[in-house]
């Protein structure tokens, strides 16, 4: 619980957030708070509502009830570009990259949105180096392997220089080494920004986790360290019991 002791400003808050699809309550009355420079993992079994919750934060879905505030500004139902415009870096579950252009162009497009021409160019070079994408900078993103595409997308998030980063399953479909490298990148991002990471992969979560929020049937079941959640009988039953 040491993380709670040095809490800063609340950067993401939801109050009574609900998302209903017909009769299904994918997200149900969720109150959630993320503090500055925090790294929070959202976990839960399939259909627990993590991804739906995530999409309500990013503006891809408009919540049925409740509200979202990002750094004091209400963003419920805002367009994705408006949320990104606050300085929020977002990576979706399915890699969303610009397939028909080069790795370099992908990063440049992210950097140029926020910076002038000269700074965008130097920032692009920096990110290429930091994410070790230099060798493939001239390759079309559409021709890259899955893991590399995920990194290009992470690179775009980094090139935006965001203060808040929302990642949906950043390690999905990656090999073991790729996952470890991704964890390193995420910890690096965390030096500059607060993060919310939705993830399935338990090993990956152990590599990066500080505080973990466990979703179950659209609600928050627990919010604690990974060790504490692993030790909890209820949590083991609904989630960890099956995989561990």
């Amino acid at each position: 619980m040491s993380a709670k002791a040095r809490r800063g400003e609340a950067v993401v808050e939801t109050r009574g957030l609900s998302m209903h699809f017909g009769g299904v309550r994918a997200v149900d009355q969720v109150d959630f708070t993320l503090y500055d420079k925090e790294l929070r993992c959202l976990i839960g079994p399939n259909g627990a509502g993590k991804s739906t919750f995530f999409k309500c934060l990013t503006g891809q879905l408009r919540p049925t009830h409740g509200e979202v505030t990002i750094r004091g500004r209400e963003t419920t139902g805002a367009e994705p570009h408006e949320i990104a415009g606050l300085g929020v870096g977002i990576k979706t579950q399915v890699p969303n990259v610009f397939d028909g252009v080069t790795v370099e162009e992908n990063l440049w497009l992210a950097a140029r949105r926020w910076h002038g021409a000269a700074r965008a160019r130097s920032l692009t070079a920096e990110v290429l180096e930091r994410l070790r994408l230099g060798d493939i900078r001239r390759s079309l993103v559409g021709r890259l392997a899955h893991g590399q595409r995920q990194w290009v997308e992470l690179g775009m998030v980094v090139a935006m220089e965001p203060w808040l980063v929302l990642l949906d399953e950043p390690a999905a479909g990656m090999t073991h080494e790729e996952t470890a490298r991704t964890a390193e990148i995420i910890l690096e991002i965390n030096e500059m920004a607060a993060l919310i990471v939705v993830e399935h992969d338990m090993q990956f979560i152990r590599m990066i986790s500080r505080t973990v929020t466990l979703f179950h049937e659209g609600r928050i079941l627990m919010e604690d360290t990974m060790d504490a959640i692993s030790a909890d009988a209820r949590a083991r039953e609904i989630y960890l019991g099956r995989s561990a």
């Binding site: 990013t58 994705p80 570009h81 969303n96 990259v97 610009f98 028909g100 079309l140």
Partner: protein
């Protein structure tokens, strides 16, 4: 970074070829051919506009001829009323762009999906077609210009800027048309290397990602759609000058489909491809028109099917890929220096 000279080099080379052609064509070709060419150039400008909107912006506008036709009608009506062509050209571009901006506002801000975008733009074109066909009575006039319904209106020829008495000869109209095509080609070629153009390409590749980076994709799409309409309108102005009149047929389904065919055959993601395809197909149909063994439309249809099946990317991108693959073992260093693989011509 946008618009550096190296990126523009292929564009400028083609522009130079165009300039040389312009200078020598009138002394080599017959006047009849020159007049015919003017019409082909006008259509090439139309193809260029769709190459921008669809090829780079990813917006499959099935009704690019609507802006072309509006440009032609606005020019003709304007020139009759003003008694000169200078302001009429400006009016043509404004009318088409304003119409595109209004239509595009509802399409893009209403988040209409790609398929429906094609349906809407085509429908709008066909509505214009039937509307203007019904304007044959004497009561349908704008200022001094009778709309003429089915028969259309005869278009006053271009004149020297602000001198309505100095009417241009067909040969001079050809120069003007070529100059317009070359300038617009370089302009569009430059536009796609700017920050704006690169964002439009990014939106074509992945709209969600562009939004998540903080780009308002609706605004960019509206922008490229409106600019494309303005370019098409200039094509319309040249077209009614080449033909001598404008009829509702500019809005016909045949012409709407033909524009798409030029871009498919020439290749999306390049500008010179659709321009070249327009000239090629224009002369093919012209030469087929002199015989009666094959139906013109049948031949065009077969060409389209063959291209979609065998050369789906179109001529220009396929040629670029092919030359790149051939030069690969030879010049590693050279290939490296080439900026982006998208940067066709």
């Amino acid at each position: 970074m946008g618009g550096s000279l190296r990126e523009l080099r292929p564009t400028l080379v083609w522009a130079l070829i165009g300039v040389i052609f312009t200078l020598f064509a009138p002394s080599v070709l017959q006047l009849f051919t020159i007049i015919n060419l003017t019409t082909a150039i006008a259509l090439a400008v139309l193809a260029l506009s769709l190459a921008l909107v669809w090829g780079y912006g990813g917006i499959l506008c099935f009704g690019q001829v609507a802006f072309f036709g509006l440009g032609a009608y606005a020019y003709t009506i304007g020139a009759i009323n003003f008694g000169g062509s200078t302001w009429a050209i400006l009016v043509a571009v404004m009318v088409a762009s304003a119409f595109a901006a209004a239509l595009g506002y509802f399409i893009f801000y209403g988040r209409v999906s790609d398929v429906y975008l094609g349906v809407i733009t085509l429908t709008v074109t066909l509505i214009l077609y039937s509307l203007i066909r019904r304007t044959s009575g004497p009561e349908y006039k704008i200022g001094n210009a009778l709309l003429g319904g089915f028969n259309g209106v005869s278009s006053p020829p271009l004149n020297a800027p602000w001198d309505a008495r100095a009417i241009l000869f067909p040969e001079q109209v050809f120069y003007v048309a070529m100059a317009a095509l070359i300038i617009l080609y370089v302009f569009v070629g430059w536009l796609v290397t700017t920050h704006f153009g690169r964002v439009c390409v990014a939106i074509r590749e992945n709209e969600t990602r562009a939004e998540l980076l903080g780009y308002d994709t609706r605004l960019y799409k509206l922008g490229i759609f409106t600019i494309g309409a303005g370019v098409a309108a200039i094509g319309g102005v040249l077209f009614c000058n080449g033909v001598g009149r404008v009829t509702p047929d500019v809005f016909s389904l045949y012409n709407a489909a033909l524009t798409i065919i030029w871009v498919i055959v020439g290749g999306r993601g390049t500008l010179i491809g659709p321009i070249g395809a327009t000239f090629g197909l224009f002369y093919l149909t012209a030469s087929l028109g002199g015989q009666s063994v094959f139906n013109n439309n049948l031949v065009l249809g077969i060409i389209l099917i063959l291209f979609v099946l065998l050369v789906p990317k179109g001529v220009a991108p396929t040629l670029i890929d092919w030359t790149r693959r051939r030069s690969r073992p030879a010049g590693r260093e050279r290939r490296r220096r080439r900026a982006r693989p998208e940067g066709g011509a």
